[in-house]
């Protein structure tokens, strides 16, 4: 019997982001009523998926930290513009993606996504860095609809249903977009096999 390696997936594991959705609304309302500390719950709950998305989109931990931090701060400043009929994470995610795009636009075209490590390393380390740069570049070159589903699935590790709720589209659309996105990304990265 043929055995393929097990592909990492978060779908079988416990997901934490959306299990306390009711609390999100409560925390937002408390923030709006002046309870600043309530925002800490939201930060603690969503910092991991947001940072994960930012770090892999930007390829630099410091930029990711700044982008995530700015996203939370802007969310707080504009909390009264949040529409509670949508998931709080969806709104946060949009703010974060804008932050990431701002960082990317501010970079000079020839600047690598991540600051290279100062310490000298063997050639395979350099090749791995180049590979990561190309993956990020190919990912950003995808149409936004496809980019979103890939990012939310692989970086924020959301399920089909959670991606659907985040993007406000049906789960079957998530599935079809995800399939197409992988095909497009695969074509863009032909020849760049992970070692």
């Amino acid at each position: 019997m043929l055995k393929f390696r097990r592909v990492p997936t978060n779908f079988s594991g416990a997901r934490v982001y959306f299990t306390e959705e009711q609390d999100d609304s409560g925390a937002v309302n408390r923030c709006l009523a002046g309870d600043t500390a309530a925002f800490e719950l939201l930060v603690a709950r969503y910092q991991r998926p947001l940072y994960s998305v930012a770090s892999r989109m930007l390829g630099c931990r410091e930029d990711a930290r700044d982008a995530t931090q700015n996203a939370f701060l802007k969310a707080y400043e504009r909390l009264d513009s949040y529409d509670p009929s949508f998931r709080f994470f969806s709104w946060l995610y949009r703010i974060l993606m804008n932050e990431c795009l701002n960082v990317i636009r501010a970079r000079r075209p020839e600047e690598p996504a991540a600051a290279p490590r100062a310490e000298p390393g063997p050639l395979d380390l350099l090749e791995a860095e180049e590979r990561r740069r190309r993956v990020r570049s190919a990912l950003r070159a995808l149409p936004a609809d496809y980019q979103d589903v890939l990012v939310l699935r692989h970086f924020a590790e959301l399920s089909y249903d959670d991606i659907a709720a985040t993007l406000g589209i049906p789960a079957r659309t998530v599935k079809s977009r995800l399939f197409t996105a992988r095909q497009k990304l695969g074509l863009a990265l032909q020849g760049w096999q992970a070692t």
Partner: protein, 365 residues
């Protein structure tokens, strides 16, 4: 050749969404078709490429930083905050770049290290690129930094520096005119060129002490700012011993005593704190309390008293107001270095007499 059904099953497999029947169906296809196996390998490789972008979890202090940032950004007061920030920015631009950078560097190193708790280590690898990018908007360059020491410049180029300069508490402290003037002193600039001081200020031991909220509150006190801006301290900074004293965690902890903070600008105390043997004794609360006495601080100039303070009995004795007053007599301070007097101080009879004197003083009051 692969079919649309093959593709669907393979992609569901990537997401862990295959049911038992679908898993069996795919397994059969994998065994039967080399093309399906090839496609499965391609998709696995793609996921591996995406996984390679993994960078770990968020920084442990991210939540704290966000919450620190929203304090002054209260939605109702955000416009005022922005106006204030703009005004501060305009004020800063009136200074020359080199002066501003010098002040910022000095203030950052001294205040930033002393004041901010949970101080992260400086990541030198983030140096030039991060700093150039962050301060590009201010049109400043490395040449504007005049301190000359590479460790200070590395600090300036770090993300830590950027975060401190964004911190409203730091901005508030830096807006203090007298403090800025003090920080501009050549003595302080020279002291900050001491790699030992920078290393000491960023040492884990000091950072641990700075995690104490009471200490953080103490370090932001007016008394400490007075200490930093005191001319005597500026002059004393030429002493390597005093530079070591500033970074000594024992001194940091002792500064939680408000009386000591009030006395910190006393030249006698500054000189005494430069001595490692005194700092080592600052863990004794009785001694810290006694240092609030002007007589004790004056007497500390005498080496005899300093040596005698190594004895716990004497440290207890100097908590007596009468004893402190008596120390104003230089002969007593000198006599304390005498072995026989030291032995006498350790005697139970002396302790008893001291207790009686304190009780008597209490009853008179």
């Amino acid at each position: 050749m692969t079919t649309a059904r093959d593709e669907q099953l393979l992609q569901l497999r990537l997401d862990g969404q295959l049911g038992p029947d679908e898993a069996a169906e795919l397994q059969q296809r994998l065994e039967d078709s080399g093309d399906v196996r090839q496609r499965a390998s391609e998709l696995d490789a793609l996921v591996t490429l995406l996984d390679e972008l993994e960078v770990g979890g968020p920084p442990p202090d991210l939540t704290r930083e966000v919450m620190a940032g929203i304090g002054p950004r209260r939605r109702t007061g955000i416009r005022k905050h922005r106006k204030r920030t703009q005004a501060e920015g305009a004020l800063s631009m009136k200074m020359s770049k080199s002066v501003m950078w010098g002040l910022a560097a000095a203030a950052t190193v001294v205040l930033g290290v002393l004041v901010f708790q949970d101080f992260p280590p400086v990541d030198n690898t983030q140096g030039a690129i991060g700093a150039a990018k962050r301060y590009d908007g201010q049109q400043m360059t490395q040449d504007d930094v005049k301190l000359g020491d590479t460790s200070v410049q590395a600090f300036l180029q770090s993300d830590v520096f950027a975060r401190i300069m964004k911190d409203p508490a730091a901005v508030k402290l830096l807006s203090d005119a007298s403090l800025r003037a003090a920080l501009a002193s050549p003595e302080l600039s020279k002291a900050l060129a001491d790699p030992g001081l920078i290393a000491a200020l960023t040492a884990p031991e000091l950072r641990m002490k700075l995690a104490d909220p009471a200490l953080v509150a103490a370090l932001t006190s007016p008394e400490l700012r007075a200490m930093i801006s005191h001319p005597d301290l500026m002059a004393a900074l030429s002493s390597s011993e005093l530079r070591a004293a500033i970074a000594d965690p024992s001194l940091a902890a002792a500064l939680t005593n408000p009386e000591l903070r009030k006395a910190i600008a006393d030249p006698n105390l500054v000189a005494a704190l430069a001595k490692p043997e005194l700092r080592a004794m600052l863990t004794d609360p009785g001694l810290v309390a006694a240092l609030a006495s002007p007589q004790i601080r004056m007497a500390l100039a005498h080496p005899g008293l300093m040596a005698a303070l190594a004895q716990p009995e004497l440290r207890m004795a100097i908590t007596s107001a009468e004893f402190a007053k008596a120390l104003a007599n230089p002969d007593l301070a000198k006599a304390l270095s005498d072995a026989s007097l030291s032995a006498a101080l350790k005697s139970p009879a002396f302790s008893q007499a001291l207790s009686q004197a304190q009780e008597l003083r209490g009853s008179v009051k």
